[in-house]
Subunit: 433 residues, 2 copies
């Protein structure tokens, strides 16, 4: 009964094609059934047991230095994470159905009508590290958009992932949907095999550390959606409110230091010394290791020294580099050079400065007086996200349902041929609507 | 005065950033000025002279078998091509401005407002073979969307391309736009250098033969938009009208055999023998070399024999393979296996069959009773196209202005932090509008 990855992906493709033809309301009700199941206490018990087994297996590996505590934090399927998952699925069910939507209708000539109709991508291959909550999130997004999905999680979360996929498959079966639309791979070899199936997999989504995403990108001939880096900045303008700056900095660094939308560098300009002081104090109190440039250490001698390398480092833990820039223009240059085009934020009371920052930063997210941690599909109201894209194509920032559909151009005619049109011949009418 | 490719691309990036901040009407008027210039007889004379020099240089190479006649055909800057270019630029100028458009506005909470705002991609690197008309088409699309562009055409079209770029640069200068937004590279080495500039080039667009596009894809770490193959089918359903089938097949094969939207294979099912007969007769009269499967040759013994390899071949010339399939389902399977997901067409009077075909073909274009040659940005009313994408991400089919923009998420707050939100804490309002 061991199926090859090719067999699993082929079955997913066939099941996905049938799913794509399901009416939207049916795909919608699957999500509600899934949220229901995830909320039931007996299912939660089963998930908790599986998750605890994973956590127990991880502990000695943390002690041995093989796994980081940050990774284990991501592994936990807490009640609040499960609640948020249920919320997300319900949110997603409530969203507009994007499959089969006619996004453009244009008469090219009498009796020659072009339409652009949205459709699923097909089969998604999703590879992620520790974070079992990715399983229902990604499956939910895939089902909502008529896609099949082949999942591969980290081996640290294997029992949690298996419990989640089995819950999903039984829910699908009860809803009359072929459970082959969702499958779970095991082992690195199966991932490598999947990454080669460019005739069956339409998009690979990679979630995890920068190195991990780069590994997936290097291995696959299929297009990969994923952020290789999350190097975000917070810039304190001279007009920054000191207590707001401290509050935002602590949230952006400490609420989940391993997250890609956490900040790695704080920039400040002359005039922002008071905001800097309160921010440094609040971060130190929150247990953040601070490294400063020379000018910053001139004001705060207790800080460690930041080297040139620090500006290019995504710490992923409670470490933050602090650098002084001459002015807003230099802050923009620093961000352009070191930022990963993920999310960049300014704290400023001066609206002109904020507008200049917002207009000139080339990143998926540009924030004014708000924490970078808001850069997230759930917080944006997308229901969930398959990941955050720092690329510029197709989807940028948190990727929800819109990133999982594409379109086809449908042309219905009465025997028209192209050589009848052109200068001196028939003219196109190009009438929309 | 010889600039390196890095210098050219850096200058393009800076000039592009300024262009992106130009108001839409100014970017629009540049296109009209360009159409004007391309329509002026003295400019046409200059272009014709350059083009004739290219054509004269190509002739001995055709005789020597180094260049194909199909390539030389693409090289010609005919009056009708120039007229179509002017038309396209005017069409493009009339299109909606996509830069700076707010495509979503959502209140996340009181005083915390998210918007999604469209913006240019940045710098496009465009590599194309013979076809100098690509220069104004692509430049027009780039300018309309606030992008800079680094172009590299085939050396067969070098004089034509230089004449076109010089016309564009002088038009830009007169319109007060930094001419560095457009530049032209020379030589394979410069292309290879450009394909490495992943910090300066946001998207590579490759136009040309399958081998050429694959070469570009293999050389670049930047995302490449391009169709590696154009293997399109025409399927004659049993209900096909015989004279319509013949007319569409001749247009789809002969009006431009080297084009990617020309057909390579004709499929027919039992019951379509009359349509097949009239189609075979019309194609033979048009000088097409026909190759058939055994069943086809049983009816038309004069045809050559098609081998298994033929179904996977993009001839690019006046050759066509003809295969019998058992029924519509088998036609879909054949197309799924051999098609390049470019454009697929059915000829049928039976609407049920047409609907089934349209619903089930996974390709950028699916046509009923119309020639595959309509798959083109100009014919679709997109003004022009940078290319036709057979990938499923970002843009599919003919790519016009919409494929050249992306978006940023802008979040404006009053000091909100993410850890204040969640189960048991503040709730997001997620109110759109």
């Amino acid at each position: 009964m061991t199926e090859t990855v090719r067999e699993l992906a082929s079955a997913a493709r066939r099941a996905g094609r049938r799913l794509a033809h399901f009416p939207g309301p049916e795909r919608r009700s699957v999500l509600l059934a899934l949220a229901d199941a995830l909320g039931r206490s007996e299912e939660r018990e089963r998930l908790r047991a599986a998750n605890e087994a994973d956590l127990a297996a991880a502990q000695p590996r943390v002690a041995a230095g093989e796994l980081t505590q940050a990774l284990v934090d991501r592994l936990v399927l807490s009640t609040s994470k499960l609640d948020a998952l249920c919320d997300g699925l319900v949110q997603l069910a409530g969203q507009k159905d994007l499959v089969g939507e006619t996004t453009l209708r244009r008469e090219l000539d009498d009796g020659l009508v072009l339409s652009r109709v949205s459709c699923p991508l097909g089969v998604l291959g999703v590879v992620f590290e520790a974070r079992p909550d990715a399983v229902p999130q990604i499956t939910g997004l895939a089902l909502r958009t008529g896609n099949a999905v082949v999942l591969k999680g980290g081996r640290e979360a294997q029992q949690s992932n298996e419990a989640l996929v089995s819950l999903i498959k039984s829910t699908l079966k009860m809803q009359g949907i072929d459970p082959a639309v969702v499958s779970l791979l095991h082992g690195r070899e199966q991932v490598d095999e999947m990454l080669q199936l460019d005739d069956l997999i339409d998009l690979v989504i990679a979630r995890g550390s920068s190195e991990f995403v780069r590994y997936v990108q290097s291995k696959s001939s299929i297009e990969v959606l994923g952020h290789a880096e999350g190097l975000c900045h917070l810039f304190l303008h001279a007009s920054a409110d000191a207590s707001m700056a401290a509050r935002i900095a602590v949230d952006a660094k400490c609420s989940y230091p391993a997250a890609c939308n956490a900040i790695e560098t704080l920039l400040w300009e002359p005039g922002a010394e008071a905001a800097l002081a309160s921010t440094v104090a609040a971060l130190a109190e929150a247990g953040v290791t601070l490294k400063g440039c020379e000018a910053t250490r001139g004001l705060h001698p207790a800080l460690g020294a930041a080297s040139a390398e620090d500006w290019a480092t995504e710490y992923g833990d409670k470490t933050l580099s602090i650098g002084r820039v001459e002015d807003l223009r230099r802050a923009l240059e620093h961000i352009d050079r070191y930022g990963s085009r993920h999310t960049e934020a300014i704290v400023a009371q001066d609206d002109g400065a904020a507008s200049a920052f917002v207009a000139n930063v080339d990143a998926a997210g540009v924030f004014h007086n708000a924490s970078t941690r808001f850069a997230d599909g759930y917080r944006y109201g997308l229901g969930a996200e398959v990941g955050i894209s720092t690329g510029k194509l197709h989807a940028r920032g948190p990727v929800g349902v819109e990133g999982l559909v594409t379109y086809r151009w449908i042309l219905l005619g009465r025997g028209q041929v192209a050589s009848d049109y052109g200068p001196g011949k028939r003219k196109f009418t190009h009438r929309d609507g």
